[in-house]
Symmetry: C2
Subunit: 156 residues, 2 copies
DNA sequence: CCTAATCTCTCGATGTTCGAGATTGTTGGT
DNA sequence: ACCAACAATCTCGAACATCGAGAGATTAGG
């Protein structure tokens, strides 16, 4: 078995990667005149769209951990720069469903899609077996991390 | 070679991991009554301490990307709750070097040290060869990511 | 020494977030 | 059909984080 110091160093590599990935979001934010929260919100909306769903204001607030007052301000900002549209849900007219604009999808696609493309390309030098190891590693480490962030939450 | 869809899914796993790791920091923040920036600052100071260095106010600002006015406020906050001490650098008395308090090191060690321990333990099920693959993967992906966050910065 | 550069801090302005409560819409019991 | 309870979003005012400009103290270089 690899010695603990080496394993600890891999944990540090993991954290370093997350710092750099965070910087990508930061960069997207500054290029498009947004703040960190706005980017997290756009990503959440884009993720939902990729699943074929449209987030409501409330769901967005849960995704980015903001109170309703802040979500209203957040959506106001995104709407003002033309990245999202508010649309009353016809099923339940209390709800506001959030639709991404073309410009937002284009901007997001260029920035994050480009990164995804490069990452996928960089994985081209790995064999099937190696990628299987990587996949297991990422999954298992994520599980360990999740146990820490959810440690002693009030049982729902 | 693994098909692109599978590789793309691994990229998503990578992002998911970073989201969860972020949640760990968020949790530490809320438990200790700090905001995200404060946590990033504490981590930066702890990292420096681990390297045997003491950050100055300016270096901290660079590490967390804040202007000097905000760094002053940030250190004020951390000092008020007793996590850091300001100490005039005797070599250059314009500088303020930041010292972590015992309480901050204890709190940080418990929270992040515990996570690191669990991560290292979870790596125990991997062979040397497998961890070598993981290491190469993390390093190469970080490089790709860095190229995106530093894309067209003004050449220093 | 005298000037320019460096490091931190102060001040005022702007923007983000929150808590409390109002508004609008839905649901279920009678 | 009505009314009460609940739900989703929004408005308002206060608290706080960040910034730009510039002041004060210190160092480095002629």
């Amino acid at each position: 078995m690899t010695d603990p110091a080496e394993r600890h160093e891999i944990a540090l590599l993991l954290r370093r990667l997350t710092v750099e990935l965070d910087a990508v979001g930061s960069r997207f934010a500054s290029v498009h005149g947004l703040n960190r929260t706005d980017v997290r919100a756009l990503v959440a909306i884009m993720d939902a769209a990729r699943r074929g769903e449209a987030l409501t204001a409330g769901q967005l607030g849960e995704a980015v951990d903001l109170r309703s007052a802040s979500v209203t301000a957040l959506v106001d900002r995104l709407e003002k720069v033309g990245h999202v549209r508010r649309e009353r849900d016809p099923e339940d007219r209390r709800r506001v469903s959030l639709q991404l604009s073309e410009s937002a999808m284009a901007a997001g696609g260029e920035h994050f899609g480009g990164l995804a493309r490069d990452l996928v390309a960089a994985m081209g030098t790995y064999s099937d077996d190696e990628l299987a190891v990587v996949r297991r590693f990422l999954t298992e480490m994520t599980d360990v991390i999740m146990r820490h962030s959810r440690a002693d939450e009030p049982p729902s």
